[in-house]
Amino acid sequence: MNRSRAILRKIGWAFFTILFVVILNFFLFRVLPGDPARAGIRDPRLKKEAIEMLRVRFGLDKPVINCFEALNPIKLGSCAVNPLDTQFFIYVRNLAQGELGVSYHTNRPVADILSERLWNTVLLIGAGQILSIIIGVIFGVFAAWKARTAIDFTSVVSSLIVWSLPTFWLAIILLFWGSNNGLPLAGKATPGASSLPLLQQWADIGRHMLLPTITYTIVYMGEYTLIMRSSLMDVLSEDYILTAKAKGLSTFQILKDHALKNAMLPLVTVIAINLGFTVAGAIQIEAVFSWPGLGGAVFEAVGRRDFPVLQGAFLLIAVAVIFANLIADLTYSYLDPRVQTE
């Protein structure tokens, strides 16, 4: 019973965080000077009627929220306006209906643009995360097991080195290398590949994914190596490992049956906390490889000052990270028997 209450609390907390992000997202784009619509409206060439039309189109004729007509510069307004007729409420209502506005650049609904791209990012991050975790765990286990040897020192130092690589720079280097080795340089698929049989289409996507995934894996595996190493070192100094050794179990059996699960539990939490950072990596990788994901959308939106897309992408990324965090948190409490029964 306690457990389901704890789960409910976590879910409630995640929703509260999402609410915070939603509000933050709304006000950021109203408070900061680069407000999308207004920037356009300030254009001296526009006639008065055109400005009014634009204002109505973007809903800027309505007060931002009760008591405030505008926020930058602050202009107080009536507090008695119908709250349903404020920009804030309209924004929230649109969000609830899955509407994120219209792209300045393509005039398509932002929600449509981003929903296509969300899965490409999930694909890239998923593949990269899985690979970097597997490799990181393997290196970390070896480093901890062979602690204070050359293997340990090498893996620690090389982990620190890959940790220090700027993601986009590694991506550039790999792209440079790939361009000399006949690998595809941009995008997710070769143009016209959709007419090919399914298997060849997949192979084509795989070839496009190769470099971005390698970049991602290299950048994040160092951190997982270090965390796995220190976590396993802690576990291997526990009394129950001595018990296992006294029981005559071989090193392999001890690692497999007594150390790995215990050492990987903290890793789950770290993976969750890391998700926010991995998105940062995805933006850079997608920018370099023109990968059609959310990060790429952010990059393009910045270049084109396409604010609705930027706003929508930020919201989607933040919500996705919050959800992934929640899932990792719940997984942890499911995996650890100590949490389960408490």
């Binding site: 361009s179 009394d239 005559g248 001890i254 952010v298």
Partner: protein, 645 residues
């Protein structure tokens, strides 16, 4: 006059602390490498105009042919898209990156540090609110938020510094808060509060100095993150166009055709700068962290040290099951001389016999027991002696061979109150594991489960607890489960290492009774490690009294109780209530056992011995064999016995 003297004294103390720190730091290779890398880079940034072969704004006379020139003698790393010297821009770029890194980190550290300090120090609602807010900010992905804010404001260097600084404080706040919490409950802070010191005084004089080291490590990390973030923002096209940072150089090169021209120099060189500074900071942070939280970096799976088998002497007794002869164990202490934890211990054990191993904490009892099964930590080394079990010398066996002896022939009951059972596997699984390991022919079906239930039943644990996890057991149950596990493979010897400490008296009695009845029922030989002489009197056949790693006295239990010859045994007995003489006054032995790294030159007990004389402080006594008519072996190490012999 007085004040200047004070100031200089404070300064000297400061200098001494700094020198001390440097002494430790200079031995840390990783930290030193990082510091060297950073110093070199700061040098480059400061003297940029002298180092760079071209002025930073020398694009005035650029001709079309100057663009993307490969490295040559006039341009070591070629030219970029604007025809500028890449190396010169690289040198000047270090200034931008370092400036952003240090100023942004400064903001983050101030915010994170004060939030963490306030939350940790004041606690309550304030803490709850601040930490909840920190949690939210921690979940929101940093870089996308930075991108949004910088895109909506002017991409100036100042803006970038503020945005990175204002968003990079979350981890610092958490780290500082937990450190503040830890420091807050320390004695001297509580004392300062008790005498009514003001909050500001406590924070600035008592808490801040102890939070500061962690804050410094954190700051190093935050600077490196700020530099990485700045370069990413610049690369994404959100950098200050007037300040050519390394990220900005890469942005220009990447977006202006360096890739298609194959101008690798314009793409690679700026990145090296980022890697250099971030790696330098990371190594420095790692080194500082290692100094701040020194970890032993040892664990139970590290290979043991090679065993040295010196002259162990002849067997003293025939037909014994387990015989330990002149066993000596050192703890290797890097650099310093080894600590002699156990020296020349001999004893023997017959089938069904119970031997008590008695001594104060830290006298080498556990070390000795671990050495029997070669379970010493990696710093421990057997430097002399033999452990003969059933005619086999266990010190000569290979790792595979000793694994067969472990648990199958000799098992250990560790202190169950400690963490001796794996917390994430059920007790039943852990017992069954021993059976399947050592009895490979044992059917792995229902009969294995029945055997586990039978073992649990033997120690009085109900069958329905089989699939429970250790934390669902009480301390006494865990101890009994440990005994059940030790019995799983029908061993000939059980080592019980203080199995009842940390348990309450009733449970202690139950467990002792259980062990004794099992011994009678199953014919086990038991080595019982304890500091409770009462238990010894009741159960043991023979007693080995250890002091400071050496044998004080070794004899049958009756002799120990009625005719103890070593002053230490005599003092121990005085400290123990005798039911036959209820009026007798109890006395304790003043002082503490010697530290293993600072053993006395002479007899190890001499500093606390009421009968010590001049020779005891000078010369270590040898083991004297006493001709006691009642016992074959009565051994004690004391200079007093030489005269009486």
């Amino acid at each position: 006059m007085d004040t200047t003297a004070q100031v200089t004294e404070a300064q000297t103390q400061w200098i001494i602390r700094l020198l001390n720190f440097w002494r430790i730091f200079s031995r840390n290779r990783i930290g030193l490498a990082g510091l060297a890398m950073l110093i070199l880079l700061i040098f480059v940034a400061v003297f940029a105009p002298l180092i760079a072969p071209y002025d930073s704004s020398s694009s005035a006379s650029v001709k079309i042919g100057d663009v993307y020139n490969p490295p040559s003698s006039s341009h070591w790393f070629g030219t970029d898209d604007a025809g500028q010297d890449v190396f010169s821009n690289f040198v000047f770029g270090s200034r931008v990156s370092l400036t952003v890194g240090f100023f942004a980190a400064f903001i983050s550290i101030i915010i994170g540090g004060s939030l963490g300090l306030v939350a940790g120090f004041f606690g309550g609602r304030m803490e709850n609110f601040l930490m909840r807010f920190t949690d939210i900010m921690l979940v929101i992905p940093d870089l996308p938020l930075m991108v949004v804010i910088v895109a909506l404001t002017k991409p100036s260097l100042l803006n970038i510094i503020f945005v990175i600084g204002l968003l990079g404080w979350t981890t610092t706040a958490r780290v500082v808060r937990s450190q503040t919490l830890a420091v807050k409950s320390r004695k001297f802070v509580l004392r300062a509060r008790a005498v009514g010191a003001g909050k500001r005084h406590i924070i600035s004089r008592h808490i801040l100095p102890l939070v500061m080291p962690i804050l410094v490590v954190q700051a190093v990390l935050v600077v490196s993150l700020a530099i990485l973030n700045e370069s990413a923002l610049s690369f994404l096209g959100l950098g200050d166009p007037t300040a050519l940072s390394w990220g900005q150089m890469l942005n220009y090169a990447f977006s202006r055709g360096a890739m298609s021209i194959g101008a690798w120099w314009a793409l690679f060189v700026p990145g090296f700068g980022i890697v250099w500074v971030v790696l330098g900071l990371t190594l420095l942070g790692q080194g500082l962290e290692q100094i701040l939280n020194p970890r032993l970096d040892t664990h139970h799976l590290m290979p043991g040290r090679p065993i040295v088998r010196g002259d162990a002497g002849e067997a003293s007794e025939k037909n014994s099951l387990l015989e330990v002869r002149n066993l000596s164990i050192n703890y290797v202490n890097n650099g310093k001389p080894p600590a002699r934890a156990v020296e020349n211990i001999s004893f023997s054990l017959k089938e069904g016999e119970l031997i008590g191993l008695v001594g104060e904490s830290g006298c080498g009892k556990t070390t000795l027991m671990l050495a029997l099964l070669r379970l010493l930590p990696s710093a421990g080394q057997i430097v002399n002696g033999r452990v003969i079990f059933n005619g086999k010398d266990l010190t000569t066996l290979s790792e595979e061979e000793i694994n067969v002896v472990r648990w199958k022939d000799i098992s250990i009951v560790f202190q169950g109150a400690m963490n001796a059972l794996n917390p994430v596997r059920t007790v039943g699984e852990q017992i069954a594991e021993a059976i399947t390991k050592h009895l490979p022919g044992f059917p792995r079906d229902q009969r294995l489960q029945e055997r586990v239930i039978e073992l649990l039943d033997l120690v009085g644990i109900a069958a329905d607890h089989k699939d429970h996890f250790p934390h669902q057991y009480s301390g006494g149950m865990r101890q009994r489960a440990m005994i059940a596990m030790a019995l799983a493979c029908n061993p000939q010897v059980i080592i019980a290492d203080e199995p009842t400490t940390a348990l309450d008296v009733m449970i202690q009695a139950q467990i002792l009774e259980l062990l004794d009845s099992l011994r009678k029922k199953l014919g086990l030989a038991i080595i019982f490690v304890t500091h409770d002489l009462g238990v010894v009197a009741e159960m043991c056949d023979r007693v080995l009294v250890m002091y400071g790693g050496v044998t004080a006295e070794y004899a049958d239990v009756d002799i120990i109780y009625n005719d103890a010859r070593h002053p230490y045994t005599q003092e121990l007995l005085k400290a123990f209530p005798d039911l036959t003489k209820p009026k007798k006054k109890l006395s304790s032995i003043p002082g503490y056992p010697p530290r293993l790294d600072a053993l006395p030159v002479g007899c190890r007990f001499a500093p606390r011995c009421p009968q010590a004389f001049e020779r005891c402080h000078r010369e270590q006594p040898i083991l004297h064999k006493l001709n006691n008519p009642q016992s074959a072996a009565h051994i004690a190490s004391c200079h007093l016995l030489e005269a009486s012999k």
